[in-house]
Symmetry: C2
Subunit: 325 residues, 2 copies
């Protein structure tokens, strides 16, 4: 494959921390061609409000000594429930007019992980991913089998109408007309959501959830439910959640790659994230971004696209919400 | 999770190479509790014969300047067609009496990869994985969607009876009686098959295929189809194919981990494989093994269980077939 770099725009937000009982959380709502020029003030405000709500809710949990796992699950659930993002309620349509949602979660303390793929009826895929991690004896369940496990666990299922949003349906019609598989918008926007956190006990966690690609066929699974690709957490290094052209993130093992560069090449979190987002992914044609937090509480929110919906908040007073580069 | 090391037995075969136009191939047919005391001479011979056939076939392709990709695909297809191994024809039964097969393949030259999961009717899952890599525009397809893609590609499908073997059916009855999900045998044997190769052009490739776990439910996906977990190849480092307790191989990103240790910690292939198999996997309770080959043509076949069906052959005259420690 040729090394075509479609987006050379690079952006990175870096927050360094230094207190003792530090804790922090970062979230994303997808990266891609997000331009201020194509955004209405009303829509921009709506995005900012839900990002603010999710980051505050996650942060407050950490403040009350909740686990990093609880914080990332709660933040991702809020983003899944918002129709604005391509995950949970706002998931895009597959070619046959259905929804196929994927999610994963990882506990940096134990390296325990849970993942689900090709879900059609689960309100909060991230909740099921956690149940897989804690109660299935497995890591990765998919399709009808995963839905059966959800039933066994008593998890809430929704009718297809719950996941219907007019905007996503229009996207499908456009995609069908063009006979193209689109990321989640005609202008290459990857609407995956995710969260990473460090709690007061020094534990890291990461969570990612997605509705996949508009007009997708053939039961395609992207990087989001793949441990080490879209999601990774390890107390010895960092927690990472990715969003972007999933196939490329899989091929470079993006999330675990950040951790490996920190553990084995002694890179800082920031340098490791930049290596993956600015060099490794573009070298094979991949675009998107990631959020990451290390065991010292440093936060990195990197992307090689025009924008990434993102927010972070830490116990040393850092607080930011961003959309554009 | 506690760090329970169930098997502390360690074994490793290491072959170093030094010629210029070197090429080599290694294969495995699963690791686990494989004891000479519980093997009949007839069965032992049958295993040795199919291992010999597969390694010779793959090696001859390399000799004739075929690609590493062709060599690993051909060797894995032969192992899939043999009812002795838990992949393709000899796949174990799921709880509802079906088969759910997974496979993946990776090209170390381009980092292109293809993976399939939860297949019920495909004669050679590894063939479909390669088609996904080369013709789908995606990396990972699963379930009915993957079978639809196979139909589009004109791939041969088989009736369920093709995959029926009496021994596997008996295993299912035993597992149901005990109400347990078994690896692929009552005595913890992981029957996944795999191959890694270095061709005359310096390209590496890896392939893995499995029938999963007897009596499994809920659409469980193991490490075999997960790029970076059960399979990985990169010309800059190595090609790896794993077999074992899949959930643990996922959580440590076993295959890519070997590569990361070589690339970023400057470990030799042998040291990197030993670190993963002897330390990282046991530290979270994982057992199994892997085969790996590096860009210089060195081969490693490591396992922390009583045995691993394995074979290797190189252009500098190395040739071995092994079953026990």
């Amino acid at each position: 494959m040729n090394s075509i770099v479609k987006h050379i725009a690079i952006a990175c937000t870096f927050v360094a921390m230094s207190d003792t009982k530090r804790y922090a959380i970062a979230i994303h709502g997808g990266a891609g061609t997000i331009l201020k020029s194509s955004m209405t003030p009303k829509l921009e405000k709506a995005y900012q409000q839900i990002l603010e709500k999710a980051i505050q809710r996650g942060y407050k949990l950490l403040e009350k000594k909740a686990s990093a796992l609880d914080a990332v699950e709660t933040a991702v659930k809020l983003l899944e429930d918002a129709p604005l993002f391509n995950a949970g309620r706002g998931s895009v349509f597959t070619a046959n007019g259905k929804h196929e949602m994927d999610a994963s979660i990882m506990d940096g303390k134990t390296l325990d992980a849970g993942a689900v793929a090709l879900l059609q009826k689960i309100k909060n895929p991230i909740e099921l991913a956690r149940m897989v991690m804690e109660h299935s004896g497995h890591v990765f369940l998919a399709g009808k089998g995963a839905e059966d496990f959800a039933s066994k666990m008593g998890l809430k299922k929704m009718e297809a109408s719950y996941f219907y949003t007019e905007a996503r349906y229009k996207q499908l019609q456009l995609a069908k007309k063009a006979d193209k598989v689109l990321m989640d918008h005609t202008d290459r926007k990857f609407g995956t959501v995710g969260a990473v956190a460090l709690d007061q006990f020094g534990n890291l966690a990461a969570a990612t959830s997605t509705g996949g690609m508009t007009n997708k066929k053939f039961g395609r699974i992207g990087d989001s439910p793949m441990i080490g690709c879209g999601t990774y957490a390890n107390n010895n290094s960092c927690a990472v959640s990715c969003t972007g052209s999933g196939e490329y993130f899989i091929r470079v093992n993006a999330a675990f790659h950040v951790s490996a560069l920190m553990q084995y090449k002694k890179y800082s979190l920031e340098k490791a994230c930049r290596e993956v987002v600015d060099h490794l992914l573009p070298s094979i044609g991949g675009d998107g971004g990631l959020i990451a937090i290390d065991h010292a509480g440093n936060i990195s929110m990197c992307f090689n696209t025009e924008g990434m919906y993102r927010a972070c908040k830490s116990s040393v007073g850092d607080y930011s919400i961003g959309i554009y580069k």
